[in-house]
């Protein structure tokens, strides 16, 4: 009772959202994302055959952003990273997008390189009806892009397919699931080396590390795991749990990346080496 009372009084928690989310619901966010996608060209990233992928999640920015700043500096200082995935919950509550976003665009001598960040939104990002702020900054929460090698974008040069999903409400919703099913069906025979799906919410609940956060429903867990296995997806990357978890179902590896919030004693980020094989390593942001 005390914890419920505390949560109710805590201005960081959008308690109305416990009964009805204050941002537009998933069906509307998905349509808005599709409209944005239609207004911009699909991203095809030119890469070497082996490259490094930086992954960070759950910074929960309030007044400080030390861990996120360290992560961005590590990313920009690396010699072969090319891009970074951010798996949601950039901010904790409200009114922190400005300075959180400014960290993602660190200026100075390193601005000209390693400046690509692909974002997905988390549940905290859309508290207090903040979806439209998130969307103004990052455009779309459901999209795909791919990587290729060589000088020309053609089938023989394709490397990896990346798919971003919006699970900020703990569901993909009907339309987004259909979109994913159709996309994977179209793409699975194109010859991609790896298919990587990234989103905010984790699928499995192996322990109680996650506190009071929820997964996708069981029906959606069945459908999504089957779909990912059937399409030959290599890896499902997510955050939300704040604790690291690496598990597998079918031939898909499910990786939950630790949080990178200043409030954690040991915030982490992940670096993935993508080549014919995929390997990954976690790095601590503070000693």
């Amino acid at each position: 009772m005390l914890s419920v009372l505390f949560a109710t009084c805590n201005p960081n928690y959008d308690m109305i959202g416990m009964f009805n989310g204050t941002s537009p619901e998933i069906a509307d966010r998905f349509q808005e994302s599709l409209r944005y996608n239609a207004s911009v060209p699909v991203v095809h990233m030119q890469m070497p055959e082996e490259y490094r992928l930086f992954i960070c999640t759950d910074s929960h920015i309030d007044s400080t952003h030390y861990a996120l700043e360290r992560f961005i500096r590590a990313y920009k200082a690396d010699t072969n990273p090319h891009m970074c995935l951010y798996l949601g919950d950039l901010i904790n509550a409200q009114a922190h997008f400005d300075h959180a976003d400014s960290i993602l665009h660190l200026d100075g001598v390193m601005t000209s390189r390693n400046d690509t960040v692909f974002m997905t939104c988390g549940n905290h990002d859309i508290y207090f009806n903040q979806w439209h702020i998130w969307q103004q900054l990052y455009g779309s929460s459901t999209y795909w892009f791919d990587t290729y090698t060589g000088t020309e974008y053609k089938k023989e040069n394709l490397l990896d397919l990346y798919i971003c999903l919006d699970t900020a409400e703990g569901t993909l919703g009907t339309d987004q699931m259909k979109w994913l099913r159709k996309l994977l069906n179209e793409m699975k025979d194109k010859g991609y080396r790896h298919i990587i799906v990234f989103t905010h919410t984790h699928l499995f609940k192996q322990d109680n590390s996650q506190g009071h956060t929820s997964n996708l429903s069981m029906e959606e867990t069945y459908e999504l795991t089957h779909l990912l296995t059937d399409a030959g997806v290599s890896c499902y990357l997510c955050g939300h749990d704040h604790s690291r978890e690496v598990t597998g179902y079918g031939n898909v590896r499910y990786i939950t990346v630790d949080s990178s919030t200043d409030a954690e004693p040991y915030p982490f980020y992940m670096v993935m080496e993508v080549g014919e094989n995929m390997t990954y390593e976690f790095f601590r942001l503070f000693d």
């Binding site: 989310g21 409400e169 703990g170 609940k205 009071h212 929820s214 069981m218």
Partner: protein, 246 residues
């Protein structure tokens, strides 16, 4: 002081002397008959969720009080979304001066034919059933496995070793009444066990036509993302049917 103790003893023993259940609700919910006679139930169900969309289900229940204070429930569902579910519950009960204590051992198997996978849950729980309130708490383990698993690769199944199980149900009439209505909150119901942070809202009602026949109307609402603080509708089920007591 002695008078107070005597009065307290009298108060505690009064329900035993006064109450004789004639037509009980089934176990801790409204299905079946809690008293020691066999019954079967047949229900038709309409459901909608955001993943499988519209579906029609057929539910069959058997309530078997094998010996005094030990009941076995068996149930099976065919869902038109191409999912088959079966469950068996062993429920010993213990009559108390106030209410009835029960323990449940439940195994639930969900064959998700559409996704060629199975969801197996095994649960242990204890509960306390009063006339107007039933509470139940326990834990369950889950194994998710694909029917197409390749044994010669890194292909894996998924286990979730411990989930909290809970159920709170409030009734508007005493069990001996010939009708009852309930509302509940739980992460389990007859056909599914959800993770602890995915509660379901339950509605139940029954009316006893005569000594043998009882009709039911039940409903369920699943809202996803409640503990994301971004709640949205996910699923709803409505089921109607009848029970026959032998």
């Amino acid at each position: 002081m002695r008078k107070s103790i005597l009065l307290l003893g009298l108060l505690l023993s009064f329900p035993i002397m006064a109450k004789q259940y004639l037509s009980l609700d089934g176990g801790h919910d409204l299905r079946g008959f809690g008293e020691e006679r066999y019954s079967v139930s047949l229900m038709a169900e309409y459901g909608y969720n955001r993943t499988w969309e519209h579906m029609g289900n057929v539910d069959i229940y058997a309530h078997m009080p094998v010996v005094k204070n030990v009941q076995i429930d068996a149930r099976m569902q065919y869902c038109s979304a191409n999912v088959l579910t079966g469950a068996i519950v062993l429920r010993p009960t213990f009559d108390l001066p106030v209410g009835q204590l029960f323990a449940e051992t439940e195994v639930l198997y969900r064959g998700v034919l559409r996704n060629r996978m199975s969801d197996f849950c095994a649960a242990l729980s204890v509960g306390w059933r009063f006339d107007y309130v039933s509470v139940q708490i326990g834990g369950f383990a889950r194994v998710l496995d694909s029917w197409d698993r390749d044994w010669h690769s890194e292909d894996k199944y998924e286990t979730e070793p411990f989930n909290l199980l809970y159920r709170l149900e409030v009734f508007c009439r005493p069990q001996t009444n010939n009708w009852n209505i309930s509302v509940g909150l739980s992460n389990k119901e007859d056909w599914q066990m959800e993770r602890m942070w995915q509660p379901m809202f339950l509605f139940g009602s029954r009316y006893d036509i005569d000594e043998h026949w009882r009709v039911h109307l039940d409903g369920q609402l699943k809202i996803t993302g409640m503990f994301h603080l971004n709640a949205t509708f996910y699923a709803a089920y409505v089921r109607a049917g009848f029970s026959y007591r032998f």
